[in-house]
């Protein structure tokens, strides 16, 4: 089984130096791409059926084809690597960034060349300190070796690449909010259209891609489209870094063919449930995806199949719910997270999520009231796609709406004085009081 993204990583997870990376075939894609016409690269990516790994699974080649090309388009054009990984349960980009930053740089250089981009950014969350250090070093090496800067490898093509380290807030990962963050503004999402490809960073054409997406690019170019498609079990191209956390024997992340089934992931790669814990449900693609249950375990993990099963592939990072963990508590944890991370722009998200969290907290504490579950169901519906400004809230209600579907008794048990599954009244309401960063009256 080929593992192009992670196969070359060192067992101790020390990053490859530029030299080491070149020795295992790294940067060949840059050499090759510079001899290709940019549209051919875009075509190759299109044909590879690579779908964005940031969560929405949008076909990368198609996104790229929206980038205005030619000599009369506004300049500079930008490419941004979204390395703001903050989706709860997700840790695949960390692996790529820490383990082999040169692979990402190579992907970005090739992509930037294909898109005729002048300036590229890596947008990294602050907490990834180790990654930051390693990326900095890799960028310096790349500049020293003429992979970046003026006239890359003596070609006509020049590219500046910079690392931007952010300062917290999940919403920064939303691509348009990310643009505002990069401009030094409040990270509020922007309305689409216009899409960033048309009016992005500083109002100029911009492509935003996820770290994992970009790491795929060099391999498509060096090894070819057919090879790439062949890596996958399904029609979506390539491998996927799947991850699993929760009460399983060996939590972790593994690069596997796209379309590997959830059952294989759970039972083979994660080693099955921990002793004494039973499987109850799973979030298949990070916190903002619907729960799936036992009956779905055979579903292949690819974008369309998971969708058909009623959830989303998201980031492909699974969180397992076991029978000793209260689904109400889990929903509360998730909703509290999303409420806290709302940017505060649109009403449903800003006000609806805290309300959901407060109701969940009441239920969790055994103080739910008749009608609460119905309010929750209604809120899930009202916060759905299209009703809010960006995708944060629709994502936020996905786990809740499915939890209400699959684990309804647990919620009802918390209504009117009955105790929750663990008989515990637990929660501080700290997120309501986090004054450190948010009380501007000082």
């Amino acid at each position: 089984m080929e593992r192009p993204l992670t196969g070359n990583m060192k067992p101790d997870r020390q990053p490859l130096t530029l030299k080491e990376y070149e020795e295992v075939g790294g940067y060949q894609a840059v050499h090759k791409a510079l001899r290709m016409a940019p549209p051919d690269i875009v075509d190759a990516v299109k044909n590879s059926n690579l779908r964005g790994r940031g969560g929405a699974g949008f076909p990368t080649g198609i996104k790229w084809s929206f980038m205005p090309m030619g000599s009369d388009v506004p300049r500079p054009k930008y490419l941004i690597c979204n390395a703001d990984e903050m989706e709860p349960g997700t840790f695949k980009d960390r692996l790529l960034l820490e383990g082999n930053p040169h692979q990402l740089l190579e992907g970005m250089i090739v992509s930037a060349y294909a898109l005729n981009v002048d300036i590229a950014y890596i947008f990294l969350r602050w907490e990834y300190r180790l990654a930051a250090e390693r990326i900095e070093r890799a960028i310096a090496e790349a500049y020293e070796n003429y992979y970046l800067g003026k006239n890359i490898l003596r070609s006509d093509y020049s590219l500046e690449l910079r690392l931007h380290v952010s300062a917290g807030r999940y919403i920064c990962g939303e691509e348009t909010a990310l643009l505002n963050a990069l401009e030094g503004k409040r990270a509020i999402p922007r309305a689409k259209p216009p899409h960033p490809q048309v009016s992005g960073l500083w109002g100029k054409p911009t492509i935003v891609n996820n770290t994992e997406t970009l790491c795929n690019i060099p391999h498509i170019i060096t090894k070819g489209v057919e090879w790439y498609k062949g890596l996958s079990h399904t029609k979506d191209g390539g491998t996927k870094i799947y991850g699993m956390s929760g009460k399983v024997k060996r939590p972790g992340a593994w690069e596997l063919p796209m379309g590997t089934s959830m059952k294989e992931l759970l039972e083979v790669h994660a080693g099955g449930m921990k002793e004494g814990y039973q499987f109850r449900g799973i979030l298949p693609g990070g916190a903002s995806t619907d729960f799936l249950v036992e009956e779905h375990l055979d579903v292949p993990m690819d974008y369309d199949s998971v969708q058909k099963a009623g959830s989303r592939m998201g980031t492909g990072q699974m969180i397992v719910l076991d029978h000793k963990t209260c689904p109400v508590g889990m929903a509360l944890n998730l909703e509290r997270f999303f409420a806290r991370e709302s940017c505060g722009l649109c009403t449903p998200c800003r006000e609806g999520l805290p309300w959901i969290a407060m109701i969940l907290q009441a239920i969790e504490e055994g103080e739910g009231q008749p009608g609460d579950v119905e309010i929750l169901e209604q809120q899930c519906r009202l916060l759905g796609p299209g009703n809010t400004f960006c995708a944060l809230a629709p994502g936020a209600v996905e786990p809740l709406q499915s939890a209400l579907k699959y684990f309804r008794e647990d919620f009802e048990r918390g209504i009117s004085g009955r105790r929750n599954a663990r008989g515990k009244r637990a929660h501080d309401n700290s997120w309501r009081r986090f004054t450190l960063t948010t009380n501007p009256t000082k």
Binding site: F91, E127, G168, G184, S245, N333, L436, N439
Partner: protein, 153 residues
């Protein structure tokens, strides 16, 4: 008043950016790095960035890792997101709060520690996790907490 060193770092940072304002977050972080938090330096920074204090503070107060109130010498960021929660975040938090005598968003009386919740640290496979300053700690158990805290006393 900004120190010479801060000013130097800030000037250097601004040069890296296409527009002065774009350096806002970076520049706030520079001050924070030197002082732990950003106080009325907002005025000086705004001047340098050709912004008003209101404009800069609008940015500063948006981001959760820019501190506009004093924090302790060490900032503990405890991951409170779902994987860590499933894996026992609450016990870790209980241990931290009882050892430090503070709740979330508080600073210990001796000014040593501030305890803050943080979004998923991307260490879910090694949960529960937390960061102290720039250091990541994983596979936490209540028993490990004492030893870790000891290193910072």
């Amino acid at each position: 008043m900004l120190t010479e060193e801060e000013r130097r770092d800030i000037e250097r940072e601004i040069l890296q950016n296409e527009r002065k304002r774009a350096a806002a977050v970076e520049v706030l972080k520079i001050v924070q790095k030197h002082r732990g938090w950003v106080s009325d330096e907002i005025h000086d920074l705004a001047g340098i960035l050709e912004m008003t204090p209101a404009e800069l503070d609008a940015v500063a107060t948006f981001y959760s890792l820019i501190f506009r109130k004093p924090v302790g010498k060490h900032v503990i960021l405890v991951c409170d997101s779902v994987s860590c929660w499933v894996m026992g975040y609450e016990k870790i938090l209980d241990q931290l709060t009882s050892r430090l005598g503070i709740g979330l968003n508080e600073t210990s009386a001796d000014g040593q520690f501030t305890l803050l919740p943080v979004a998923c640290l991307g260490a879910c496979d090694r949960a529960p996790a937390m960061m102290i300053d720039e250091m990541l700690y994983t596979y936490l158990t209540p028993e490990k907490i004492d030893g870790i805290l000891e290193k910072y006393r």
